[in-house]
Every structure is written in C-alpha cells, then in structure tokens.
Symmetry: C2
Subunit: 244 residues, 2 copies
C-alpha cells in the first residue's frame, strides 16, 4: 500500500495527461470542433476516469442509469440475460466508443458491461450532458448522431446474423473489428482479440467450435493468419468480399 502511494505520487504529472486534451481517442469520442475552450468544457463533463481490471463490471443490468461511459483504452463487452438464464452478448466496445446509450430510454441499464482486459473509461454523468447540451447544441447533436449510428450498426448486425452462413459471420466480425480498431489511429491489419472463441460464438450465434473451425478455414484459404488470439489480415479485399 505504501508502495502504491509512492508510485501514485511519482506518476501524477504537472499537466494532467488524463485530460481530454491529451486523449488519443479524442477525435472519435465526442468530436465537436476541437478548440481549447470546448475541450475544457468536455473535460468538465467527465466525473471520473475509473480503471477496470479484467472481469470488473462497469455497470450491471438493472442499475440506475446515471452516466454514459466513453472508452479510453481496453475493451468492454455488454451482455444481457435471457429469461432462460442464458447469457447473450450484445456488443463488444473499443476505444472511442460510447457505452450506455440504450439506458437513456428507461433510466435503467438493460445490460451488464464488463471489462475484457485492463480498461480505462471516462464517466460522463448524464445530468451534466443534459445541462451542457442546453448551452452547446452541438453536443446534443453529437449524442444524437452517435445514437443514430448505433442503431444503424445494430441493424446491420441484424441483417448479417439472420442471413449469413458461419464463415460469413466470422469474416464479418473480423472485418468489423478491423474497421473499428483502425479508426482511432493508423490502419491495423494485425490485432489481438480480447475475447474468447466462446464469446465470439455467443455474439454471432455460433458454437465456439464452429468459430474455431471457420477461423481455421479462413487461415487455410490465406485470408488471415491466426495464432491464438493474434489475428493478421492477409487479404482484406477477400475478407470484405466474404461479408456481402
């Protein structure tokens, strides 16, 4: 404990590098025009930047809705429980993405959010957002835009899952990760999966064995390299073609 304290003191910088101004995903998170004035306003929005370990919960289904969360680093999965007790994953979330939008409607979280690895999020109390929206309409517009995009995403996912064969689903999933992980910096043809085969299968409506088999066959076909959780996309065009 004493040691921890010491380290904490050492790493707290003069400038607060946790501030939005230094955030690497700033452009994606709430990308209002980025002048210094507004960055400070957004910084004021942020109540806290909790650090989560793997398996820590950000919130649970049924919790009162208080805040949206912007993912700064790491990865989060959200899942609900069917009445049958089965756990169903509804989404994976990566840096720059906003979590909790589906809770605004009834003031209560409808899903559980849990960290898949060491993760930092920015907590944005919804009260603050509402207040500031009144002053800066562009913030509200941005929230609206993000929600709209989420609807679109979910609907694309719906289209995909209902009608695609297993290989297509897996290809689609990998391509989606590629697109989203590439947004925040340079193109990322190589990345580490933060979720298990079982979680992917759960999300895609496949068994973990089928996920494994289809990844193996994509490997054999030279579309990707797979080494445990490390994925390298070798032929992105072909991968994308498989998604249609």
């Amino acid at each position: 404990m004493a040691l921890n304290k010491k380290i904490e003191h050492r790493v707290i910088p003069i400038k607060d590098f946790s501030s939005c101004a230094y955030c690497s995903v700033r452009r994606m998170c709430l990308p209002v025009s980025v002048d210094k004035e507004e960055i400070n306003i957004i910084d004021d929005l942020v109540a806290d930047r909790p650090q989560l370990k793997k398996s820590d919960y950000l919130f649970r289904s049924g919790d009162k809705f208080q805040s949206l969360y912007a993912l700064k680093s790491g990865a989060i999965k959200t899942y609900g429980s069917t009445r049958g007790g089965r756990e169903q994953i509804t989404g994976f979330h990566f840096p720059g993405e906003l979590i909790g939008l589906d809770a605004i409607g009834n003031n209560r979280h409808n899903c559980n959010a849990v960290a898949l690895e060491k993760t930092v999020v920015c907590e944005l109390p919804y009260k603050n957002i509402e207040n500031i929206s009144l002053q800066i309409p562009s913030i509200q517009q941005e929230i609206t835009r993000l929600m709209s995009l989420e609807i679109r995403n979910d609907e694309e996912m719906l289209m995909a899952i209902g009608s695609m064969r297993a290989e297509q689903r897996v290809a689609c999933f990998l391509f989606s990760l590629y697109r989203r992980l590439s947004l925040r910096s340079k193109e990322k043809r190589t990345f580490r999966l933060s979720m298990t085969r079982e979680e992917i299968g759960n999300y895609l409506g496949l068994s973990l064995e089928t996920v494994s088999r289809r990844m193996s066959s994509l490997h054999e076909d030279g579309v990707i390299d797979v080494e445990n959780r490390l994925i390298k996309l070798k032929d992105i065009d072909r991968l994308q073609a498989l998604c249609s």
Copy 2:
C-alpha cells in the same frame, strides 16, 4: 377523378381531424405533456400527412435525410440490400412508431421503407425538430428517449435471433407484435399480419417454409389460432414463456 374530388370535398371537416389533437396514437407518438399549447406546436412540426398505398415507398436507401416519419395508421417495412443483392428486412413498424432515426447519423437513409398496406404517416422535417428542440428541451429528450428505445429493441432482437431455435423466434415475433399493437389502445389478442410468411422468414433468418411449419405447430399445441393472416393468441403465458 371527378368522383374523387367530390368525395374529398365531402370528407374535409370543419375541424381538421387529421391534426394531432384528434390522432388516436397521439399518446405514443411524441408524448410530451399534452396541453393544447404543445399540441399545436407539434402540429406545426408536421409538414404533410402523405397517404401511401400498399407497395408505395416512403423513402429509399441513399435518399437524402430530410424528415422523420411518425406512423399514424397502417404498417411499414424497412429493408436494406446486402452486397450480394439479397434484400434483408430490418424492421416492421406500426402506428405510433417513429421511422428514420437511423438516418440522422449520416444525413442519408440507409434503408428502404415501403408500405405493407394502406398507410398514413406524419412527416416531421428534421430542421423543424431541431429548431423546436432549442425552445422546448422536452422534445429533444423525447427524441433521445425514442432512439434509446430503438437501440434497446434492436439489441433484444439481436439476442433473440442469434441464439433462438425457429419456434422461439416465431413465438417471439408474434409476442412482439402483440405488445406493440396493444400499446396504442386496448389489448389485442387477435390481429391480422400485414406481411407475408416470406417477409417474416426474411426478418427472422428462417425460410418461409419453416415459419409456416412452426406456426402450424404452435397452432397444434393450442398456443395460437392461425387462419391465413389472422392470428389469435390463445395462451399468451405459454407464448411468452417460449420467448425466453
């Protein structure tokens, strides 16, 4: 034509019964507190109330996004096209529901919306909504709430489709119709499907034959009565139980 004109003249009332004040789905559509003042404001939001025949398009994928549409009567399906050219239905929409929310994000419609039967919608130009939101924050909150609910709906659907067997999906679909059609007035245990078996199958990720078979077996089990498109729910508890 002459006849039509004559009838039109006859049915136009002194009071405008098409106004929101007389709308049967008013409570659901944009349910801000319903004093006379605000009803008039919402009425001003509405640019037009086009009547669609079966198979008429409300908008097409790629169209510039101008307006949201509130469904007054009838039924609408929305669908997208996969790159493979297949048509994939993303949703069915009923009176009181708002269509077009997924287009706000990129100012362009991402799906086609087509009437399944004679349908009346209220056209709400988004510019108007944005302007009025600045004066009446509750309108903006309401839009946000509706979007959030749509996200939640889509995610529930995702959970359903990925992991459910055919019979569960069909049961779930019928139960969803039951809930949504019952919202606007009294409970509706009997209703007419406005879509074909093929459209249901497309939406649920099943073949039309499987939809037909599973509806037959729900019939045999005494859960529902099926007579062509007329559905009567005989054992709602059991139907709901099948959804879990």
